[in-house]
Symmetry: C2
Subunit: 278 residues, 2 copies
């Protein structure tokens, strides 16, 4: 791992790393905030998955997570949202190709060579983080929009890997949304049975989640029809899944929404990862 | 004033406005965060002046001020750093022309037509804010780098307009720095006597400040030789000026530094503007 940048922040350290990725077949960049508590020993990790068009950088710079993570003693990992580079397939649309990996392993050409974000996050990057940074075995995961989809689907399919999960305005039911159907048909092909492994509403209905779940959703989000929070809320109620779906009055889909509730999510995860839940 | 964007944040509202400016002779853009307390009545205002290359947007997005302002009940105004537009003089250098107004009224061609950021901030924009927003008469001012220079010089010359002043890594002694001499000779001409009105070290030595002053400076700032905090610290000590100059170990010149100490500065101003100082 090569250090791209490193800045002191909130008595911790914000670092950007670059590394060759076997999984994605290209160079990948990610960011990590290490809180001051990591100087005294390993700390839990919160994974933050970003949304469409984002890199590792957007939430790192605009999300306001570091202050809360420094207070709670959590590391935060910000992966990129797709493979990148001249040799990596892309599309002119903002919601397909680079910046829009959707946290799946593509099985169709031209995507399958590099678009393996599911394996990248759950395996390769997890190993890199665990082996190279001062973190312990307690992992939580969250994300925004496409990243909220990623957080939920990855947690629901890998309950042994995560102790806690939350999401900000997730793409909650992508098999029934234009944010989902377009990408799944491109990356995974037209057999919709392969899609359901990447739909948190379906996964939740089938498997539930071992703990409780926190979902925040802006009630004035401009993308509500694409996000379909009602599907996930219904699935949670039907499953009797412990958790909260909070419709936040007046909030839209922007980073101001994420920023506003970042503290709540970091604290939520900290209580479950640090064992300080009351 | 035309609304460019508006987002709910921390139960307040973050707005970007555009307006024709008589002072600058062009359209100007600025941002304001109004805290939730402003729904119940006028609130104090903290002015945040930004540094070289910035617009109104950088600190609005990356500074992390809104969360603290919402807690403390302060409005925050983020002006642009220079006039802008095709008809506005510019320079290829990052530190002259657009993005580098240095908070002076230029007296030399080609700058004097539009580069009047001193009057813009102290008069035109102040009137716009006071007359159109739910603010009271208590104003504080802060800023980063070139904006720290702007905050200190504007406050020291207009003690009747501001109740509190602080700065993050200010350009503290520009008459003796390449961040200052170059710009002052371009904007104000070669007569250095006109420059001293825009040097906070000189102004402080001569006039002092009615209250106390908070300066934060990263000890690992990559621009320490240009910022010259030692000159301002010496002037404060020589003048017996109440205040703090805090050299912050390990911090650089980035927004991570600003972000880390944003809460301290907002609280400092709130105590002095809301009259809650203990």
């Amino acid at each position: 791992m090569e250090i791209v940048s490193q800045n002191r922040a909130f008595d911790g350290v914000q670092t950007v790393y670059r590394h060759p990725s076997n999984t994605c077949g290209c160079e990948m960049t990610f960011a990590v905030f290490m809180p001051p508590q990591s100087e005294d020993g390993p700390v839990p990790v919160l994974w933050y998955l970003s949304g469409l068009t984002c890199t590792h950088e957007n939430a790192m710079v605009k999300g306001g997570f570091q202050e809360h993570a420094a207070r709670e003693g959590l590391a935060i990992v910000f992966p990129d949202t797709s493979p990148r580079g001249d040799g990596v397939a892309d599309d002119e649309a903002y919601d397909l190709g680079q910046g829009a990996g959707f946290y799946v392993n593509a099985t169709r050409d031209p995507w399958r060579t590099h678009y393996r974000m599911y394996d990248y996050v759950t395996s390769e990057l997890r190993s890199l983080v665990t082996e190279n940074l001062q973190v312990n075995g307690a992992h939580g995961i969250t994300g925004h929009s496409m990243g909220g989809h990623g957080a939920l689907t990855i947690a629901l399919r890998n309950a042994e890997m995560f102790e806690s999960v939350s999401a900000f305005a997730p793409i909650a039911n992508p098999t029934q949304s234009d944010w989902g159907r377009k990408q799944f048909s491109s990356y995974l092909g037209d057999d919709e049975s392969a899609w359901s492994l990447h739909d948190s509403t379906i996964l939740l209905e089938e498997h539930g989640w071992k703990g409780d779940i926190l979902i925040d959703q802006g009630a004035s989000d401009q993308f509500l029809e694409l996000l379909r929070p009602e599907a996930l809320a219904a699935a949670m109620a039907k499953r009797r899944q412990p958790g909260l779906v909070r419709m936040q009055k007046g909030y839209d889909h922007s980073y101001y929404f994420v920023n506003t509730f970042a503290g709540d999510h970091v604290e939520w995860h900290s209580q479950r990862l640090n064992g300080t839940r009351h």
